[in-house]
């Protein structure tokens, strides 16, 4: 009789302790671990997101700058056509060769001197006269342009916030 009672009490205490371990202590420890991990990854993500925002803003600023000067390429094409040059266009890049007057050459250099978004990849121009032997002559000089390659700077619209 006494043995049964003690046995019963021991079983009850065993169940109680086991339930505390399985339903209270272990879940608490697991929760602490998860909370620390989640707090850490949340902080890391916040930093990553801020960095993404900074990069994205900077990229958008460049995109705005390029957009604000977007007519430069068309103006260059117009200058070239105005002086009877026939540029070969491919999207926002062009190649052209030909002879131009000193005035046209000066205007072309002026366009380059005001261009914020034009990449001159190749430009080879030489005076068709031998200088300075003929400077005193009234004859107007011409410039021989070979392989002028110009590209307008482009940005990826998908990456810009515009």
């Amino acid at each position: 009789m006494a043995f049964n009672r003690i046995f019963g009490i021991l079983i009850a205490i065993g169940i109680f302790i086991a339930s505390i371990i399985f339903f209270a202590i272990l879940p608490t420890l697991e929760f602490r671990k998860q909370k620390e991990a989640l707090t850490l990854i949340a902080q890391v993500y916040e930093q990553t997101w801020r960095q993404h925002e900074n990069e994205s803003n900077q990229y958008t600023q460049y995109a705005r700058l390029i957009d604000s000067q977007s007519n430069e390429f068309d103006q260059l094409v117009a200058v070239l056509r105005n002086y009877n040059l026939k540029p070969t266009l491919s999207g926002k890049s062009l190649t052209v060769s030909g002879k131009v007057s000193a005035q046209a050459f000066s205007e072309l250099l002026s366009a380059f001197g005001n261009a914020y978004t034009l990449e001159i990849n190749r430009f080879n121009a030489s005076n068709s006269e031998k200088m300075p032997i003929q400077i005193s002559e009234s004859k107007m000089t011409t410039f021989d342009i070979r392989n002028l390659e110009v590209k307008s700077i482009q940005y990826n619209e998908k990456l810009s916030k515009r």
Binding site: S19, L65, F112, A115, I120, S126, N127, F143
Partner: protein, 197 residues
Amino acid sequence: MININLYKNKKPKLKITTILFLVAILLLPVLGYRITLTTLKNNEMQKIRLANPQSGVVLRETPISDYDDSIRLLTLKDEETKTQISILQNERRNLERALVYAMITRKFFKAVDASYHKHSQEERVFVESIQIERKSKIEIDFFDIQLKAGNTQFLFFQDVLSSIDRIIGNTRNQSQQIGFVELSALKAKITVDTSKF
């Protein structure tokens, strides 16, 4: 008064209902703690979401008490964002390089133009050739001729060289003074190294 035990010979039985009842009573505090823990989890999750608003936006997609899924989702989103940053950085560097190169060519021609206009009264400049090669150089060959006899100061050359050197840097120059009728002339070449752009 005499105490008589009427159940003296009755064999004690442990009923199943009694066992279940006892077990239930023993489990009650533990179950209570479980409920407390769940509430605690929800509160902590709210705190994490409030302290990290962007993470909070991402975590709206998962149940509030699901820590494992939340951690998995945030890790995935973090990786995705890092990949996007890497793409953005590459694109930005390319844009910067292109814009800096465009600025160099612009300033080069601006400097030539400004110096030319500044000294057009005293000197005459004849461009012999201009050469631009991306990732290599910008080069101008020219004659700088004094309009006054006996004057040996080549202001255009000095001015354009110092401007280009100051604004862009990486310049080399070659010059040779030659006599031209009664005037003195300078045959010069200015090269800007653009290999880094």
